[in-house]
Symmetry: C2
Subunit: 445 residues, 2 copies
């Protein structure tokens, strides 16, 4: 069905983009902490931001900017300090950062979008920012996607990146994306950032609509612990450099572009869920039979967010009762007589009543599906709050080669049907392990 | 302000009630598992039940009965099997149980309310029920509250009971209550049951209104893990045996009765939160400055339900950032500049920005407040899923004398102000510990 294919290059795969990531000295650990995405020309810009009442300065800044003019040339992102709960000084620091980048790159500061991640309540280290920005612009290249992806992470185990390509009127059109995830190992870390680049020619209003709908089917359908961050930002640029026919209404090509955008967002969202704190597996919950898509998505997200269900998955317990209980409290009306639950190929419940199934075989299915993941209990944090993988009792800095292993198809699949409606929806999450508690309790003092 | 006082006697403290709890053989462990509350005369009955779409047979049964006629003579409660996800056989078993009790006690079966707790998907052991009911009726006495409270628990660490007394027109009026809590140690255990008795003379409609409002300020304001059960039931009887003037409208005496009812419900609700799975302390979150009570309660419940915040409390980390982030995502609009957060007497945040506070002293405050609680890591489960306290490396059955220690005022208090409104609200919860995960993951297979 999908007539596109995966390519390399991440956010610099689409035409007319450059990216960079450098060590600017913002993180105490000395790891890369300043990232840049540049478009050669003005790009259409759309954004989806945290709904929290407590928001970082960069979130309010981007919202205001995009409301005034839905285009941008650059996205500047720092890690280390979240610039949330930082008052008027935080706002001034955001403005200065945009101005500095505008000067260094020779564009108006109004063409610069901003994102931050790191400790809430800390001001951005502006000296490091001031000296870093010129280096960052100098480092920007059309192969800079990985460097940028590495500079936006905080305590993520892996970087997260994707690029897809299709053709419109025989010319290639590409979408690339990077994101950082749900590592909140250091308390007060702000969570989700995702940046998408695209070289299609599309109208601003349509691009924003596509992005909002894609977010509803991807980032808004993942949950690690139910905590919405102060900094959550998804920003998508479309710079028209594919020079394909302009998309201004929802025709067949628009639908294809939106489907590809949704695929990019879902890939990134699933990578975040899989990399959830303490996670030992990715869980996918597919709900069908609902009256509409929204209801189905709601049920799916409630199940995948249930602490009891997540604990059961960690214990590899095929616990249909917790799935049924979570479905029941999702706020979506259904007849319990219609409830049907499957774990992979195992039918656990039908007509609202449990079936005899092979509990040991079902448990083994869950163990097997999770076997390619970095083993639970192998993650620790050093005094600088850098993430370490523990190998043979020795702490070693995170090894990138583990990433490929981490990204295999090791998803535990739960299918739930709640009736005869045509609404379907999917949500993704991870299990709740000792390490989640450990990671979030053992900051100290 | 409260012109009532605590008395002993639990649900049999009000006039005209008897209660019993026996070992009927419903639980595999052989512990007490069948409870009864009797009123000497027809009592006004009000109920608040789970909002889940997946409900136990007893919940649907009680709803239908109370809709037809808001009165009852008896409440029959079994532990061991939840009678949820049990189909038409489960419904028949509920009807038969009510009929058997009606016959044994000489009342119409329509005067019998039902509640169940235990494993979801299992039919009630009806042979044990049939032989148990006559014994149960024979055992009923006006000192039977503790026996009943013991027979409704599943994996709770302590029984939960309260009785309050006041005077109307110089005659004593009493309210008593028992409940069982959030022990979901055995997967599929169904959660919250609470029974309240009262001897006031009150009209049915008013009694139901009072109970619904009291539930909103108590049981609906606690969270252990955000999972709503299939069996949650709060049932309150008022049998008029105090022979005080009838309360038929919201006058001063009605307000006093409602306040006392609310106090009973809050006492029981807090006892459940404190006894949450793996909990090492009770957390109370007080929110003020909201536009109305509902908004304040919503913010309080969101904070106390945040997995990140709960993990921080387990680690005794005075983490204001997670409190601010949770407040921000509660769905209640406020200006972040007005946010103010206190931990006990420590002011952590003012005007939306963090203050310099003594982190070590604040952490010590949290440790001290939790010190009188049964130590974390001291709870285990045997092969029959009975709860054990581990003492000096030895597993011993749960010791009742630990209960008093467990019920001291060891609450960690968080106060949050979000503006200048007059709305206030409180929520209660517990921390998220390794034991929560352990308890819920290590059922097996």
């Amino acid at each position: 069905m999908a007539d596109w294919h995966e390519i390399s290059g991440g956010i610099t795969a689409p035409k007319g983009y450059r990216a960079a990531g450098i060590k600017a000295g913002l993180k105490p650990s000395g790891l890369p902490d300043l990232a840049l995405i540049l478009s050669d020309v003005d790009a259409i810009a759309a954004g989806v931001f945290t709904t929290s009442q407590v928001r970082a300065a960069c979130v309010d800044y981007c919202r205001q900017l995009l409301q005034a003019k839905p285009s941008a040339r650059a996205i500047l992102c720092n890690a280390g300090q979240a610039n949330a709960a930082t008052g008027s000084q935080g706002w001034l620091n955001a403005l200065e950062s945009a101005m500095l980048l505008g000067q260094a790159f020779g564009i108006p500061s109004e063409s610069v979008l901003l994102a931050s991640t790191g400790v809430i309540g800390q001001q951005i280290k502006m000296e490091a920012m001031r000296s870093g920005i010129p280096q960052l612009v100098a480092a920007a290249s059309d192969t800079g996607s990985d460097a940028a992806a590495s500079a936006i992470v905080t305590t993520d185990l892996v970087t997260k990146s994707i690029a897809l390509e299709t053709t419109f009127s025989d010319r290639p059109v590409r979408i690339g994306g990077i994101c950082k995830g749900s590592g909140m190992i250091h308390p007060n870390m702000a969570t989700l950032l995702a940046f998408v680049t695209c070289d299609a020619v599309v109208s601003p209003a349509l691009w924003q609509q596509m992005l909002s709908r894609a977010a509803d089917k991807s980032f808004n359908q993942i949950t690690v612990d139910g905590d919405t961050s102060t900094n959550d930002s998804l920003i998508a640029l479309a710079n028209g450099q594919s020079r394909t026919p302009a998309i201004t209404e929802m025709n067949a090509e628009a639908e294809k572009l939106e489907a590809m955008l949704t695929a990019v967002c879902q890939h990134l969202a699933k990578a975040i869920a899989r990399d959830g704190e303490g996670a030992t597996c990715l869980i996918e919950v597919q709900v069908s039979g609902a009256t509409d898509e929204k209801a189905a998505r709601q049920v799916a997200k409630t199940i995948v967010g249930s602490a009891l269900f997540k604990s059961a998955v960690f214990g590899r317990d095929p616990n249909w009762g917790r799935i049924a209980a979570a479905a029941g409290r999702a706020g979506v009306p259904f007849e319990q007589e219609n409830l049907r639950i499957m774990l992979g190929d195992f039918l656990l419940m039908e007509n609202g009543q449990p079936l005899a199934f092979d509990r040991v075989a079902a448990s083994n299915y869950m163990k097997q599906k999770a076997s390619s993941v970095v083993p639970q209990g192998k993650v620790s944090v050093n005094s600088s709050n850098d993430l370490l993988l523990v190998d043979d009792g020795e702490s070693v800095p995170f090894e990138r080669s583990a990433a490929s292993r981490y990204l295999k198809d090791d998803t535990i699949l739960i299918s739930v049907s709640i009736g005869n409606g045509s609404g379907t929806g999917t949500a993704w999450g991870c299990d709740l392990s000792y390490d989640y508690v450990k990671i979030n309790a053992e900051y100290t003092t």
